[in-house]
Each structure stands twice: as C-alpha cells, then as structure tokens.
Symmetry: C2
C-alpha cells in the first residue's frame, strides 16, 4: 500500500461543518486502496459511542483516490481515525501516524472538537441558484448619449487600451428585457465608480458613480429594476489599490511625507517616482494604481464604509473583490462581518487565480472566481491539451481542495474582461464552445456569462475581449443564444445542478459526472474530441 | 519516486510569513528524494525575476522528508513551483499537478500573493524567552489562614476530588523568593475566580477573586511583586463553560425559558434535567459545567469584557484558554483583537490536546499547550514504548505541522493538573525524569514546570497529581531542584534554546537536534535506554 499517499488533517477541506449536527470528513489515499472505514466517537464517552462507517469515493485523479463521509454528531463533537484496506495490508491512520495495530481509545486520533455553525461557510440560497451575467459597462449599451465621453470610438471598431464607447447604466436598464429573456438572475458589473480609464479600476472617488455611466439615481433605478425582475446585482470592490488621480494619492504627490495620506500607501522614500519602477507599492508595477495600505485603520474604515454605503444606499447584493488575495486576511474578515451584518445574504466573491483555500474557511469569502476550472476547460475543450481522464482529474482536484459549500459558492467562468473570449480560444469552433458552456452550467458553482459570449462574440487578449456588445440581431449568433437560453433554463429548473451533490465518474474516454438533489439525478457526459 | 508522498499547498504550515520581506516555504516528499529546488519569481515580472534555490531538509519521519527554504520577496509576493530529484527521475511540482516538463511561466504554479506582517503569527520576546511555572493555587502555599475554607484537609494528606488545602495568592507572594531563585520568569495560575470547587473551573463570578484565594488587592500585589522580579503572570480563562452556581445558570434553573439568560446556553428543552445526561450542552457531560453559547453576542461581550478587565485592572500578561478548541473560532478572533489592543505583547495560549493548526494562523492563539510533545516524551522517556528514531519522527511531525513561530509560542509541558506527574509515569526513575526535563528545556516552545515537579513530587491521575506542595526542605529532592535550576539557567542564558532554529538529526540510536542563534550552536543528544 502507498502509505505516503494517505493525507488527512482536521479542518480546511478535510473536515468541515455540514450543518449543526453533521460534519464531512475526507481523506486522500493511493489508487490501490479498495476500502476506507472511519472509526469515530465522542471522546468524553468513547467506549459507549465508538462506531464505524464505510467511506465513499468522492473522486480520483492521476495519483489519488479521495474519500468522504458525513458523520452525525449528536453531542456536536467527533474524534476519529481511519482503517485503510490496501491490496495486502490493513492499516490504521491516526493523527500521530500509521499503525498495524487496531485503534484503542482516542488519545492519538483526529479531533473535530465542536460543531459551531457560526464558523461554517454557508452559501445563500440565491447564490447557489444564481446564473450571473458579467457586464463591462462602457461596452454593453449606451442608454444615455448625454453622458458620453468626448472622442467616442465607434461601437463596432476594435478597442484600444484607451478607447471609450459610451456604454452606461441606463444602457443596462434598457436591456433588462434582453437579460430577463436570456434567463439570468444576477449581474456582476465591473467598476462603475468615478475613474479616468474606460475600465475604471483606477478609482478616483468610491462614493460617486462615474458621470459617464450615470449617477446614484441611475444605479438605484437599475438595482430596483433588476430586483423587480428577480435579478441580483453585485459590484466590483477595487480595494487593493486606488487611482493615481484620487484626491488621496494626489495629496501625497503634492505634499510628500507631509501629506495626511502618506500612511495610506506603502512608500519606500520621497519624493515619489515611477521610473524605472515605482518607489511605492502598486498593483503589479502599474504606477497609476498605487496599492492601499489596508492595515492602516483609517484606510480600512474608509473602505469598509464604502462597502456598507452601496448596500445601504443602492441596495446592491454583494461584492466581487478585485485582486482579493493581495489584501490582508484581517481586512476581509472585517469586511465580511460588516457586510453580512447589514445584508446577511450578500455575496462576497474574491478574484483569486490560484488555490484559494485560506480565504474559504467561513470567515472571509463565499467563493472565488474559479479560474482553475476555467483553465481546465480551456486545456480540455478549447485547446485539446488534456483528455477526458485528465480533465476529470483536474476537476476532482478543484472539488477536493475546497470544502463543499465553497464549491457551491464559487463563480465559474469561461472568460472575462481579463482573458481572451472562450470562443476565440476555440478558434471559433461553436461545437466546442457550446460543450464548454454546457459543462460549466452542469458543475457546482454559479456560472457567469461574460456579456456577448451568448451571441458568439469573439476577442483576443485585453483590450480585444472588451468589444462593444453586438445588438444587431442579424449579427448575433442565434444558435448560440438559443443554446445559452436552454442551458440557463435547465440549470434554473433543476436544482440538482445548482444545489446538488456531485460525483465524478470514470467512464472510459468520456468525462462524466452525476449531479443529484432531492430525488432528481442527472448524468453529464462529454468528450470534445468525438 | 514516490510521487504520492509529495505534498504542498500554500499557507498554513507550508507557506508562511517570516518577516515583512521573507516567507518560509515547505514541502513534504518521500524519503528517497535527494534534492528539491524551488523555482520562484514575481508573477508580474516573471521572466526577469525567476530564480531557483536549493531547499534544506527540516526533518524526517518514518514516511516523509520535510524540506524548507526562506525566500526574500522584494516585491512582497512570490509565485513558485518545485523541482524534485528522485533516484531515477526528476519531476516538477505545480499547483495543478506533477509533470516531467520543466516549468514555463507561472500560470499553474503556487502563489503567496502578498506578505502582510499583520497576518503573520508573531510571538512576543518575553514569551519566546519564558520559563513558566504552573500553580494550582489551593495546593501551592497557604499565606493567609484567615481566608481558609472550613474543613481543611491536612496539607500532607492525599487529595480527594473535593478536598481543600487552603493555598492562596498570599501564599504565592510569600514564595516568590523561592520561584526567583529557581529562575522561572512566568507563572500560569489555574483559575482563581470565585467558584465552589477546589479547582475553580466552575466559575460563579469571573470578576471577583475567590475569597479563599484573596481579593483584587491580593492579585494586584501578586502581579506587581512578580513584575518587580521580571516574572509575568497569566491567568486561566474558563470561557467554554460557567459554573452551575453562577447567577446566570441559576436564573435559568429558576425561570426556565423565561430567564433572560436562557440564550446564554444551548438547552434542548425545558425544564432542565441532569439525568441520564444533561439536556443542555456541557463541558463533556459534566452537568455542573454548562457550556456557554459564545455565539450569542451578549455572552461574547460578557466574556471579552472579562478578558480586558483583568489586564486593565490587575495588569496580567495573558491568558491560558481552557477547552479552547470547543469555542468558536470567531470568538477567539475577537478575543485576540481585544486583548492585543490593550496589551500587544499579551500571551494567548490555548488548551488543545490535538492538532491545533487551525488556531495557529495568526488570527487566534500564539500557541497551544503542546500535549502532542508531552505524549511523545511519555512514550519515549517514561514508558519506553518508542525508540530514539521514533521519537525524532514524532518530534519532526510536531515541528512540521505548525508554522515556525507557533512552535516558539507553544507551551511545552511534562505534566499538569490534568495528568499524572511525569516522575510517577517514570515509576520514580529520576534519571529518566531528568532526561525528559532536559529535552523539554532544549526544544522550541516555552517550558512549563508544574509546581513541585522540580522537587520530585509524585502523583497519579487527578486528583492525586494535585497534592500539597512540599515545602519541607528535608522532603524536597535537592538533586532534582538543582537539575531544574541548571536547566532554567542554561535556557535563559542561551537564547539558542528559546529563540533559535532547530534541526533534528539522524544519529543512530540517539535522538539528536541542533539549536542555533546568532553564532551560538548546541547539539542535544539523548537515549533513555542507555
């Protein structure tokens, strides 16, 4: 038996709360293991409570088999060990190591000391059932030409890093019939606060809507109109950095270390310079996006107040957190507390492109933008770099590395304003693109459609992936639009896909998984190379 | 190569902050691996920053080799992968899996997105340098007979669960010369607040000193006298449960679900009953210790106020947290915030007998009572169940499973009021006992001497381990006392033992480790069977 393949340590993705009397326990073993039993009991009454249960296979990848079980904990505490059956050997796995001797007593075992639902990651119903639509406001629809920037780029021309198209919040309001008909029930807007760029990730004033997009009343009107249609709205919280032209950074540029905002940033020395590299912390090395010192209580309060303000003022339903992993954990803990205090079902989803476990323990985010799944779909469907078996392996990793509710709280995406369009990655092959979309809709995590994907828009790397939305029906791909409408309808009508459990299967050259929920069960099969 | 033996995921004990520009990265491999390199760079400037470095062996156990390195991060962010050299194969380890292809670019690698020292676990200097002395006040010294309970048990008689001996805070004050001479520089007192039992884990009033122990002025006098001698004082925070005779629980007993304290507890149904089991949550099944509902904001505020009160009022230096793992994480996060706000170098140490990683991430505790080390020392030294090799394996597990600062913040102990005395476990064999003490003093983590261990007191399971302190010099073991004085002096004079790095060595039938700090280096060798 590959004893070294066995891995388990309590909490994180290996032991977590399901509900007030139930925990899920997982263990990783080598592929040769045929059976795993869990031996468990209440450590304060071990002898009369010790029980055992067979564990179930959660999934497999190229190296490991992942097992799980759910344990009912009447006294809210569980101490446990494992009995692992190899081909020619049985071993017991304890916190202190591996033995060939049966477990006696609980001293060396693993412990889940108390089930506190307050520590669990719980996902709001609306998030589990959400189908998101991501809008880059300058490029979606121009509903009010009176607020257009000067020197507009014609709607159908290719974007440059600095072009403006005139899209705005009124444009979105005008297109709500389209979105309702599509069937989505949540919108994610990239930044809308006052900022000089077209993407507005260089905020100048977090408390005003960019005048080219509208104003507070336009946003309220948009949110109300959405809510009336059962559509939730989340905004983009760009709290990692502020814009060069913000009054705070301008003050530091002007007054140097005498500025009352000097401690809002991390500056190596004065005066500020931008060449060869900035002498202050930035997003990446982008001088126009100075990083905020979120460990300064004044900065923290400034930002948390903004997080509350837009919920209270415009009744938005949550926040997508830009560059979320470069801000301190303590900031996000306070962010969660403040946001959930005024809107308990608000959605908090972080932009993290790598493993995000440390942010998904119940104290910070509800989910992350699931770029690991995006990449697996690109490799599998768009670029054919991995086969069905390898894809299910990647999928199992994504599923195993997070606790179950984080999986349901993630935002799944084929592409975004930061990546080439998926259809373009497929070199325009609609069959592949449709397959990828179907897979995304059938997996745990809220699917997020990047505006225009549903009508066949193409585009390479930023800024090409940010073209003006095609509203001319003759130029929209009706077949794709119909496909998306069907996918959305299936997902929204069959909670097995949004709320259900998942089991990834091994079916020869097909990627396959089951989803089930309250008596309904579906089997999803795929092979892009057939 | 045993590819399945390889394990790494960012944060927790695998990737953590050392200081504002340095992170430590660790990886686990099989024992056959001869070399590991880390390939790392800044993902925003990958091509011109990518570098590589050989990793160092941190330790080995029966199954794994543990490697580490420290990476300097000028831009405060590091993305990385590993190159692992097996006997006949080289593989690259990425977040997405294992390949035989060299790493190109950073997309699939591991990421430590930003070094925020505010998220790091940092241990106060005094804690790293501390030698603790644990006192069970009823049994240490009776300095004020006027506050004695009635029906005292004679000081030299064996304890029963209900016997009182008359020890008090004045007694401790009277014995400070003894403690100073011993050389300790920190005291941990088991509970001293008003409670009916002799152990006082059944609190009635958290804001008054038990009248049999003294009063607020006695505590202040004790803390001042200690501080004047350079001795810190921490108290026992029994916040998991309250006592049956507390006014809060009495009110619920009297008024049932009409009590304003009904939500302070988790009660299944009314009226309360205690047989066959309590119908309310308790510590274990102990009806006289009803568990507090620490997720109730009123209860939380009540307890956090107490945590602050004794720091402000009596200037204590920290808290030992009773049954710490059965209280919710959110409570402890707020506890840390409130305590550190008024005393930044306060010590917060949790009683957790199992793996405590989830509490040692920087947001909750500074350390835990290191019972896993205690158990390894019992098995190795006292009971001879494991040999030197197995002991170093257990030690390596303890060292690897926590990040480095947690290791220095742990409280190491041979025994306590909850376990048999170590000398008794050694069946009175002083040579073994002296060895165990030496090992404890030479390892990372603050050693904690349970009162009387240093003069050879014996005692089996509770209550026998809680005998009255022997003050008659003729009955004290002078050889042991001298041994302890020397151990304490060596540790306090040579920071390699308190602040230094550690490397556990493989030296045949000896357990061995190096400790070093600023040019000083020591080698510790042991074998209890020689």
């Amino acid at each position: 038996m590959l004893i070294q393949a066995i891995h388990h340590l309590p909490k994180n993705n290996y032991a977590f709360i399901v509900n007030d009397k139930e925990v899920e326990i997982r263990i990783q073993t080598g592929p040769e293991v045929k059976k795993v039993e869990i031996i468990y009991g209440d450590k304060y009454d071990w002898d009369s409570t010790v029980s055992q249960l067979d564990m179930t296979v959660l999934g497999r990848d190229e190296l490991f088999t992942y097992w799980y079980c759910r344990l009912y904990c009447p006294a809210k505490r569980i101490t446990y060990g494992f009995k692992v059956y190899g081909p020619d050997q049985v071993i017991w796995v304890k916190e202190t190591g591996y033995t060939s001797e049966p477990i006696e007593g609980h001293r060396e075992l693993f412990d889940f000391p108390w089930v506190h639902v307050s520590d669990a990651l719980t996902i709001s119903d609306w998030v589990r059932d959400a189908v998101f639509y991501q809008i880059f406001p300058d490029r979606f629809a121009n509903g009010d030409t009176s607020n257009d920037p000067t020197n507009l780029t014609p709607w159908d021309s290719p974007p440059t890093p600095t072009s403006f198209y005139g899209g705005d919040l009124q444009g979105i309001i005008d297109k709500l019939d389209y979105l309702s008909e599509l069937g989505i029930n949540a919108i994610y807007l990239t930044p809308i606060f006052t900022a000089p760029s077209n993407h507005k990730y260089d905020t100048v004033d977090y408390k005003t809507i960019d005048p080219h997009f509208g104003d507070l009343s336009t946003l309220k009107k948009l949110v109300n109109a959405c809510h009336n249609r059962g559509i939730k709205v989340i905004l983009d919280a760009v709290f990692n950095h502020i814009g060069w032209y913000s009054p705070q950074f301008q003050d530091v540029l002007k007054h140097g270390n005498q500025s009352k905002f000097a401690d809002w940033f991390n500056i190596s020395d004065f005066p500020l310079r931008t060449h060869p590299n900035p002498n202050y912390e930035c997003f990446g090395f982008v001088a126009s996006m100075p990083k905020l010192n979120t460990t300064n209580p004044e900065v923290k309060e400034f930002l948390l107040d903004i997080a509350e303000y837009w919920i209270k003022e415009a009744n938005i339903d949550g926040w997508r957190l830009d560059v979320a992993n470069e801000i301190d954990h303590q900031f996000w803990r306070d962010f969660r507390r403040r946001v959930k205090a005024i809107k308990p079902d608000a959605y908090i989803v972080g932009e993290i492109m790598f493993f995000a476990g440390p942010w998904l323990q119940g104290d910070q985010f509800d989910g992350v933008m699931n770029y690991r799944l995006t990449e697996a779909l690109i490799d599998y469907v768009a670029e054919g770099k991995i086969d069905s078996k390898e894809f299910t392996h990647q999928l199992n990793k994504v599923l195993f590395y997070y606790q179950r509710s984080a999986m349901l709280g993630n935002l799944n995406l084929l592409d975004s304003h930061d990546t080439p369009r998926f259809l373009t990655r497929c070199k325009g092959n609609k069959k592949l693109f449709k397959l990828a979309a179907m897979l995304m809709f059938s997996l745990p995590g809220a699917p997020c459609i990047y505006y225009g994907d549903e009508i066949g828009m193409e585009g390479g790397h930023d800024p090409d992936c940010r073209r003006g939305m095609i509203w001319n029906k003759a130029k929209q791909d009706g077949e794709l639009l119909d496909w998306y409408r069907r996918l959305i309808a299936v997902r929204r009508n069959h909670p097995a896909f949004s709320r259900g459990d998942i089991e990834v299967l091994n079916l020869g050259n097909l990627a396959a998984w089951k989803r089930w929920w309250q008596g309904e069960e579906y089997l999803v099969l795929a092979n892009p190379s057939l």
